[in-house]
Symmetry: C2
Subunit: 233 residues, 2 copies
Amino acid sequence: MRPERDASFDADPVSSRESDPPSLHEVMRRDIVSGELPAGSRLKTQELAQRYGVSINPVREALHQLSGEGFVLLSRNRGARVRPLDEHFVRNIFDIRVLIESYLVRFAIEHATEADLRQMREIQRRIDDLVGDQVELDRLDEEFHGVTYGRHFNGEALAIRQRHGQVVHALAMRYPASPARRVTQNAEHWAIVEALEKHDEAAAVRVVEQHARGAERHLLERLRQGSTTPKSF
Amino acid sequence: MRPERDASFDADPVSSRESDPPSLHEVMRRDIVSGELPAGSRLKTQELAQRYGVSINPVREALHQLSGEGFVLLSRNRGARVRPLDEHFVRNIFDIRVLIESYLVRFAIEHATEADLRQMREIQRRIDDLVGDQVELDRLDEEFHGVTYGRHFNGEALAIRQRHGQVVHALAMRYPASPARRVTQNAEHWAIVEALEKHDEAAAVRVVEQHARGAERHLLERLRQGSTTPKSF
DNA sequence: TTCACACGGATTACACATAATCAAGTCATC
DNA sequence: GATGACTTGATTATGTGTAATCCGTGTGAA
């Protein structure tokens, strides 16, 4: 096993600093992820400037930042669009997600503390009790996996996972998990906790993979059903 | 096996369009990758504006774009720096590279055409014959792997690989491969071709992994040796 | 050491000029 | 009359320049 490394570095912090007012591109990313700026929609600089109460310059900078992050597509002299989220894209990022998460969880097997496990159980209990409220569910789900993977040294991998996770959340907001899916999700979460407790690497990898593939399958089904609503361009 | 998908989509095209003049952020990325803007160095907007013969606005936009791509670090009211490339970072991206490349090569096993293999052999012959000229070596190496992975449907994965590859090239420019490393590299390239010919998935994955880890080890050694030169700040 | 202050540079706003794109309409040709 | 090429005008992106403000850092005095 490779020696542990300092984990202070993060390639893509979601928020630059805790107490600072969030920068414009963070606000816009939130609005994209939450679906307020729908996937595929046109982003005009003047409209955005008005909407967010700033001048055009910061808007242009935010758009470029988001373009670099992959949330926005820029084309020369034709402005910006929110990146369309299609089936193809979903498959792609879940393929990557499976790779990254099974990589991340292998580290958790060895490094998750007793406190981490307690926290995961606590969070999962709250998820179990939750009814409705997709927003809160997503927040708790992210928190659960945040504890699972948070100790990992590889900030790059975490950044990729988080970025893709945000896109997935944007979709999940539109297509909430069905009750059946919720039950499966919860069972898988408990299975992850159990695998970590037992230091069972094979089981952990298997469950994590299954968890991701399940989410993928569910999203794809919903995407196909409601294929009229989320118009891509 | 999952059905094939349309591969027309690319999350992060290096150049927006072929015939267009490259945008500023592309030029700046090239200069970062080539080492002209050294890792860790301060990027002042006014200096850059003068250097590239444009006003401050486009420079700021380019910086934001590069920040989103991970090549530049921005901090509020303190300007921009080229992202420092340290040992920790190199380890991280190679961990990811191993994941991505073994994923990509599995597809190549099934989908590489006879023409692809011919092309790979041709490129590798040119690499074998090449002496010195790190720039040309890097170009050919990228071309080799471009053919290997190019048919893959997962544009996201290709984008991640390419982005990381550019960073690695920035380092390789500073720390060229030793003759011994070159010999190993070439042997590994031929082994990849052979594995693809034989449709031997296990072998292909093994070689690709070994290839990446070898490059990582070599870079890390060089980084430690010349640890005075690449000053982070 | 600590505080006040000045300076450099980033950030924002605004006004303006240019250029590209798109849509609608005109015109010529078949 | 229908089709396709061209013109035109509105819209919007893109680039420049300037000014005002904010923030971080270093300097120097108490």
